[in-house]
């Protein structure tokens, strides 16, 4: 009972905040709405019994969204990115597409026949996840690590202003066509 109520609450919050993300006129607020949406999804995760993932999601999103907000501030060059602004294009198309996607996927959810195999009661999801991670899906885990490493390096290479030898982006352009015949 209580679970059901919570579920509906979380769901409502997730969807509404998600919607607000694009209705607000300040990026910072948008960021926090988004965070809210994620948090409520995390809540749902906990409800269905994968507590670990739920918490992870909440924490990660909290962190990330804070970063995003700060980023916005320093990046968007407007004080706290609080100035009102609407930056929207092809609105009709967007609405149609969004609604279309929603209807399509919802239809899948409602009409499609999914095998009815609910999770057994009392399994410790976290332990299983750990086993899976270090067992059968070792490779997946490794790959994820490698990918994250690549991202770190890549983003650093792209953004860092000054690297090991002075300006990092020095000479990072195409060769010019005007050179004397070598």
């Amino acid at each position: 009972m209580i679970v059901a109520v919570l579920f509906w609450v979380f769901s409502a919050v997730a969807v509404v905040t998600g919607w607000l993300v694009f209705r607000t006129d300040s990026m910072v607020r948008a960021a926090y709405w988004l965070m809210a949406s994620f948090v409520s999804v995390g809540g749902i995760l906990i409800l269905v019994g994968s507590d670990f993932l739920g918490l992870i999601l909440i924490l990660m999103m909290a962190g990330e969204m804070t970063i995003m907000a700060i980023f916005m501030v320093m990046f968007m060059m407007n004080p706290a990115g609080l100035n009102p602004m609407t930056m929207v294009h092809q609105h009709r198309t967007a609405i149609v597409s969004g609604a279309g996607a929603f209807l399509a996927l919802a239809a899948v959810g409602l009409l499609a026949e999914f095998p009815d195999r609910p999770v057994a009661a009392g399994v410790d999801a976290t332990v299983e996840l750990g086993v899976e991670l270090l067992g059968e899906s070792m490779l997946v885990f490794e790959t994820a690590g490698v990918a994250l490493l690549a991202v770190m390096i890549g983003s650093v290479a792209l953004v860092s202003k000054n690297g090991r030898y002075g300006p990092a982006d020095e000479g990072s352009v195409e060769p010019t066509l005007e050179v004397e015949e070598s």
Binding site: A104, L105, A107, V108, L111, A112, E113, F114, P115, R117, V131, G135, E136, S137, M138, L139, V140, E142, T143, A144, V146, A147, L149, A150, V151, I153, G154, S155, V156, A157, L158, G163, R164, Y165, G166, P167, A168, D169, E170, G171, S172, V173, E174, P175, T176, L177, E178, V179, E180, E181, S182
Partner: protein, 455 residues
Amino acid sequence: MPGMGAQMVEFLAEIRPELILAAGGIVVLLVALFTPRRIQSWIAGGAAAVLAAAGAYAVADLADPPGLTFFDTLAADGPGRWATLLLVVTALLVIVLSVEWFAADARQGEYYFLIVFGTLGAVLLAGAADLMEMILAMMLSSVTGYTLAAFHRRSRSSSEAGMKYFLIGALANGAMVYGVALLFGVGGTTTFTGLGAGLADADPLALAAGFGLVVVGLAFKIGATPLHQWVPDVAEGAPAPAAAFLMIVGKVGGLVFLARWVSVLADAPLGWRALVALLAAVTMTLGNLVALRQDDVRRLLGWSAVSQAGYGLLAVVAIGRSSLAVPALLMFLFAYTLGTLAVFGVVVELRGLTDRFAYRGLARFHPWLAAALLIGFLSFVGIPPLGGFAAKLLLMGAVIEAGYAWLAVLTVVNSAISLVYYLRVLAPSYLETTESAQPVLGRKAGWAVAVAAVG
């Protein structure tokens, strides 16, 4: 779990190329961080060595019997191994091309690291036998791809290319993850071994949605419609060697994976064959049509890459219905890779010269470059005895046998169209002439090798 460790070790033995790439890449990175600037370019040698080693092991494994490893998350079969080899070779040649191109760059180290990891990503994608593995492999190769595309951090077009590449890729991945979720829902698992059974009697609606969304992701990877838009932008904006790399690796990895993926769906209630056929048709036609009016050689190559993706999909259409399908796929990838390398090699060699009218008199001043261009293009058209011909031959044979003769006819028409725009580049370089020769970079190895290999 007892014996787990031992098992892991033997698994590791089965993926030596991947391991070497991963470890080697990290080594390259570390070295790069502590090398004085003037000898930064030596790192290229290191990266090349890593790739060579991986390639050696790939060759060694070629003969092994096909099978699955790592609890069925990774396939070690013929196509996968050939793809590995092809990718490694590509990366090697690209590195050769890159040395002078990036000579001025202060951060070459990272570049080579990204090349290595990008290769790794594509290799894993080509070998993936598990949807999760597929997602991550794709992330790996995409992320490196975005970075490589934008690697000229002071170039306006380079950064734009990177950004667009990312925007399209991100959407594709988002859709794909949801698709995987649906497939997981109906199939009960993410490994192909499990899905093969699980999807046989799956609910068609969910299956179609999931498959469609996954195909969207793969279409992005191989540059097929409706996610082809990044290809020309990257071809034009990205650093030429990186562009060559990105034109190739995505297709190799993506197509090989797609081929394996559809063979899982063989008896699922799903119209995947017709869908792929349609994608192929639209892709090749659109690519050729748009390429017709390009005056920018690199962009033209991008669009021709799109049409080539369409040809590649032909092989997938025939999977499971024609014994020619898999050979056709590999032959196509082989010819396409070498042709692309040859042509982009010429572009690199000409310092990224990209206005087709600036190619006047190429045959006169750089006969070998012109020859490379000629061979590469004619191979794309499918003029015998070049590799492209064998590829087209097998592809058409495969689709006809698979009962899609109309695709073969369409391929014919498209080949004829493509000839026109290739000639629009060849004509100036062979028929006209100017006084001034085009300036060139120093080394010629890259395209020389490629040309030697074509046909």
